[in-house]
């Protein structure tokens, strides 16, 4: 990747491989993923369930379950520091302060036995040297900034007293409490209704602009990607198949998987009798093909070569990377004739 080096990226992921130990064998849920996030950028990661998008975000936060999943190769560089070299206590200083995360399930991400105020203040008290009274004041203004009406009351309420949309607002308040530089939002609106989703997406964008924050938005909804993101990474079975800016993705997609994914969504303003669909399913971790393109089995334009040669992610145009043998650039070095 050749980028004009005006600014060092905030986050750089290089050749990341995350493996899970299943019955003594290591299987890679994320297999050689590289990308970078610049400051103030919203990067979308799209893919179907099981493509490794959530595992990747867990790897970046170093939140993988100990003894089960681990980073086996590659590195994650955040603000110039390789997180592999950081101890758990150093990581704790970064988590919540410089990088924070919003999870999919607002119903389960909050602790039901503590008040909203207690859980919010915990973040602040952990990272700043302030009194409890100050923390409470800050909590109230935070709740206000995420659009919660009557924050003075909500502070003392428990999660079950709030609706799904309100809980997700609280999660966002918690995530932005320390004004992080990077926010990882893992399916932040999937569990919400459309009208509430619209509120939350608007809020996220507003905060991102106000705080000059970078966001990694993990989602399966291409509509959300189109509205929110600057850059998009499409993942399939643990690998990046395409990476480009949002406009190119929707108007000039190159990878067959991306094209078919775009075809398979019903569109409001078009009348289609049958939707495009992708036959078959994502191969499971244990049945992942060892060589060749991982999409080959479901790909309508796959050739014998696709099953033999593993394509590499390479630029087809400036800022547009694709991993598919339809494009010469994707042939690995030794195969180029």
């Amino acid at each position: 990747m050749h980028q004009t080096k005006t600014e060092a990226p905030l986050l750089e992921v290089k050749g990341l491989k995350t493996g899970f130990n299943i019955d003594g064998q290591i299987y890679h849920a994320v297999d050689g993923v590289s990308f970078s996030v610049k400051s103030r950028q919203i990067v979308g990661i799209v893919g179907e369930s099981g493509c490794g998008k959530s595992v990747m975000s867990m790897s970046v936060m170093k939140l993988l379950p100990v003894g089960v999943g681990e980073i086996t190769d590659g590195e994650v560089v955040f603000q110039g520091n390789n997180i592999e070299n950081l101890s758990e206590s150093e990581m704790n200083k970064i988590r919540g302060k410089d990088v924070s995360m919003i999870f999919q399930e607002p119903m389960t991400a909050l602790n039901p036995v503590f008040t909203i105020g207690f859980q919010l203040a915990e973040v602040l008290l952990n990272h700043f040297d302030i009194s409890k009274q100050d923390a409470r004041e800050r909590c109230i203004s935070l709740l206000q900034s995420v659009g919660i009406s009557r924050p003075e009351k909500i502070v003392d309420e428990y999660p079950h007293q709030l609706s799904g949309g309100m809980r997700q607002r609280v999660m966002i308040a918690m995530a932005i409490a320390c004004q992080p530089k990077l926010l990882i939002a893992d399916e932040p609106t999937t569990a919400l209704d459309v009208t509430v989703q619209a509120q939350i997406l608007d809020l996220l964008k507003e905060i991102q602009e106000k705080n000059d924050m970078s966001v990694i938005l993990i989602t399966h909804d291409l509509g959300v990607v189109a509205e929110m993101c600057d850059e998009v990474i499409v993942m399939y079975a643990g690998k990046i198949v395409e990476r480009t800016d949002v406009d190119t993705l929707f108007y000039n997609p190159k990878h067959p998987y991306t094209k078919m994914l775009l075809d398979s969504i019903p569109k409001m303003e078009e009348v289609e009798e049958t939707l495009g669909s992708i036959e078959g399913i994502v191969p499971s971790l244990k049945n992942m093909p060892k060589v060749g393109c991982r999409f080959a089995e479901r790909c309508p334009v796959a050739t014998d070569e696709c099953k033999r040669i593993t394509p590499k992610l390479a630029e087809v145009a400036s800022g547009h990377e694709v991993s598919c043998l339809l494009y010469k650039t994707s042939y690995p070095m030794e195969e180029v004739k």
């Binding site: 209704d193 509509g223 509205e227 409001m268 009798e273 399913i281």
Partner: protein
């Protein structure tokens, strides 16, 4: 709409009149009824033969309860359900059992709606065995034919649900619903648990089967673009009632109710070049146990007047085939 359907356009398969389903809230020492959750509150519509009626709405709007009440899985509090000319509202026992052959359901969660201990062949054969004295052996060719129809391999017959992916399980659920050759299928969020690429497979399958088996669908979902793709007419529900009902093109080209407008504008559209005006609704859906007075939508509506706060608007036809419940369209 195909030709055959046009000819039978006036044949109504299902008619729902002023349907109400209330769930009592028990409280106090003697567990007396202290209130009602008005899950479905005065809903009327009809479904023509061969047509697909979509019901959309956000969680808690009563769309699933409507579906369940029509199947008589829940007892209606008031109103009438007329299926194929027969009033089935108060049927019970064997008469209800008999009529139930004609309507089947496809459920939302393909992981919870199949018995994990049952072989797929038995899962699909069960509805038939319920009504006819036939052995598994007799039924086997028919079941395998059904499995093939829904796009499953023949050897699926001997497998168990856990051996299948979500999309394939949903196909099993569809095969089971088809087993008795019903007239009406109620599909309650049949694709919301599936990935987009798999979702489109199942949607296409449902459309194909509708042609082949001459089915009528009540399609319940929260995703407007999915509902639009599947339905001929669409009803929009809010807090237990239908606020707007029209044919799909009319509804999308010219939504009348402020809620429908907001709902349509809230859908993230997969086109980054489109900058659209979005109507953001304030707040959440109120609790159906304690609905607001007047129009249930008035606390979130930008056009609410005193009349809206006091009087609940009735569903009125404002254009041919386009009915809306809103005071803005009073003459």
């Amino acid at each position: 709409m195909n030709q055959a359907m046009k000819e039978r356009k006036d044949e109504v398969l299902l008619e729902v009149q002023n349907l109400k389903t209330y769930y009592p809230i028990k409280g106090g020492f003697f567990k007396r009824t202290v209130g009602n959750v008005k899950a479905v509150d005065d809903v009327s519509f009809e479904i023509l033969k061969g047509e697909t009626l979509g019901l959309v709405g956000e969680s808690g709007c009563g769309k699933s309860t409507t579906g369940r009440t029509i199947l008589r899985l829940t007892k209606p509090t008031d109103g009438k359900i007329i299926f194929d000319g027969k009033d089935i509202t108060n049927l019970a026992g064997t008469t209800l059992r008999k009529i139930r052959q004609d309507f089947q359901m496809v459920f939302q969660d393909p992981y919870a709606s199949l018995n994990p201990k049952q072989m797929v062949g038995d899962v699909v054969a069960e509805p038939i065995k319920n009504y006819y004295k036939k052995s598994s052996k007799e039924l086997k060719p028919e079941i395998i034919e059904l499995l093939k129809k829904v796009g499953l391999p023949e050897d699926a017959y001997y497998k168990y649900p856990h051996e299948f992916s979500g999309g394939q399980r949903q196909r099993i659920g569809i095969a089971r619903a088809l087993a008795l050759r019903p007239k009406l299928i109620i599909a309650d969020e049949p694709v919301s648990a599936l990935d987009v690429s798999v979702q489109s497979q199942v949607l296409n399958l449902l459309k194909e089967l509708q042609e082949e088996f001459d089915l009528t669908f009540l399609f319940i979902a929260h995703d407007l673009s999915v509902v639009k793709h599947m339905s001929d007419r669409i009803g929009v529900m809010y807090l237990g009632g239908i606020v707007e009902i029209a044919d799909k093109n009319g509804l999308y080209a010219e939504p009348l109710h402020p809620y429908t407008k907001a709902l349509i504008s809230a859908i993230p559209y997969p086109d980054p070049r489109r900058k659209k005006e979005r109507i953001i609704l304030e707040g959440d859906v109120p609790s159906p146990a304690n609905p607001p007075t007047g129009c249930p939508f008035h606390p979130r509506c930008a056009f609410a007047t005193d009349e809206c706060r006091a009087v609940k608007p009735a569903l009125k036809e404002v254009k041919p085939g386009h009915r809306v419940a809103c005071h803005l369209y009073n003459e």
